[in-house]
Amino acid sequence: MRYSGFKILKEALSGHKGWTPAWRNPDPKPHYDIVIIGGGGHGLATAHYLASKFSQCNVAVLEKGWIGGGNVGRNTTIIRSNYLLDGNEPFYEFSLKLWEGLEQDLNYNAMVSQRGILNLIHSDAQRDAFIRRGNGMILHGAGAELLSADQVRREYPFLNFDDARFPIKGGLAQRRGGTVRHDAVAWGYARAADSRGVDIIQNCEVTGFRIENGTCLGVETTRGFIGAGKVGVAVAGNSSRVMAQAGMRLPIESHVLQAFVTEGLKPVLPGVITFGAGHFYCSQSDKGGLVFGGDIDGYNSYAQRGNLPVIEDVAEGGMALFPGLGRVRLLRMWGGVMDMSMDGSPIIDRTHIDGLYFNGGWCYGGFKATPASGWCFAHLLATDTPHDVAKAYRFDRFRRGRMIDEKGMGAQPNLH
């Protein structure tokens, strides 16, 4: 069923009796060409692009819970491609281009809103770094704009420009960045993949891999054995746990990142702002709530809840930048479990086990990567070769010293 203005009008006039479920709820078949573990944004996007771009429709997505209940429903919905390094920037720019055409591709309103993202500058050194990054972005066609303090003041007059420690000296803007309705991303991809015959199997937890003579033949699940020509793992947050079932150790630790949302306000924040020096970022949702976050909690955790000291730290960062926040009530906060990789960059690669493929290590930047991650993983699964923009995301980069260290913080996940 395609959605359209005409369809909405027709349903409005006939009592809304013609709407059907957005995807089926099938039982697993005994064998698929490709099984994707993880029904989050990345897994569902992989299934959609496998079906629509690589003609692979005998595909199942296995989700241990329900669609949209993992990290795709627990993030701050920001999209951007303001990266610097060669291994990264083309990938995120590819992703942003896919976001721009997402709704037409999926026939689904994902509320893609290119309201712009602004990285604030607080020191001369930061300005130099951002000019360099902006030039990198322009060279890769992502677009960037350097704003003076006065220009920032015209757009965001309520920020604290004269903070003693971190005065605002300007900003680096990417006008094409913005936000997307995160749940709609999962639902849109699920619906689009399902319509091409992909089986989305919810409440089906993978409990082990069947590996014989170095080849993966399928997965053991809570709903029985499911055979597969190829198995792709896209379970960021739980990557280490799932891959341990295949006997692999990863360059990844799991950490909790908290996010927060306030009560609904009238429109106050036109775009996304980031305060890198204090680590705070904020946008306003279409419902009016201010959505913001900061640092990870700082120790390994699989609990989808955060600690109080980080709440205090994020609130302090927010107040330093945006004093008006002090009058706003916090509605709720939540924590998502992140794969923190050793260089802060993701992995999309084959494993040493034939037929077993891995996509993970997204740190806390997985949401913006969803379309490109899905496309590149689908490319890898379908063709056995890495996509051009994801060639750097290999397992062996740590051993070979070719890390993609975007933040320049070295091999220590708790520093990112």
């Binding site: 739980n238 280490s240 746990r241 341990a244 150790r249 990863l250 360059p251 990844i252 630790e253 799991s254 700082g298 120790y299 390994n300 955790s301 699989y302 609990a303 600690n307 000291p309 050793m342 740590f398 051993r399 091999a411 220590q412 996940p413 708790n414």
Partner: protein, 95 residues
């Protein structure tokens, strides 16, 4: 979280800096055979369990000791706290 320091008693976890897996105590011998693989493993790979995890905490705002804390990564319950020095000695390291 409260970490029950073996010398100082209960301390707020905020006084500490977290380093990660307690296996980082076991730095490989750079002169031994297979050192390259051993260091790759040591520097980058992690078990990352959901459940009991032995990890290193540095009492930065206290007595600057290193502790080995056994903590559940799902419930955040701490079941044992030892001085990293004692752990290393038990393994036959140090004097």
């Amino acid at each position: 979280m409260i970490i029950n320091h073996p010398l100082l008693g209960p301390c707020d976890a905020q006084e500490f800096t977290y380093l990660g897996d307690a296996r980082l105590i076991d730095r490989p011998d750079g002169m031994a055979g297979g050192a390259e693989d051993a260091f790759y493993d040591y520097a980058y790979l992690r078990d990352n369990p959901a459940g009991e995890h032995r990890e290193l905490w540095f009492h930065e705002q206290g007595d600057r000791s290193w502790l080995v804390v056994t903590r559940n990564t799902v419930t955040h319950e701490i079941t044992s706290v030892e001085l990293a020095r004692d752990v290393a000695r038990k393994q036959g390291r140090g004097v």
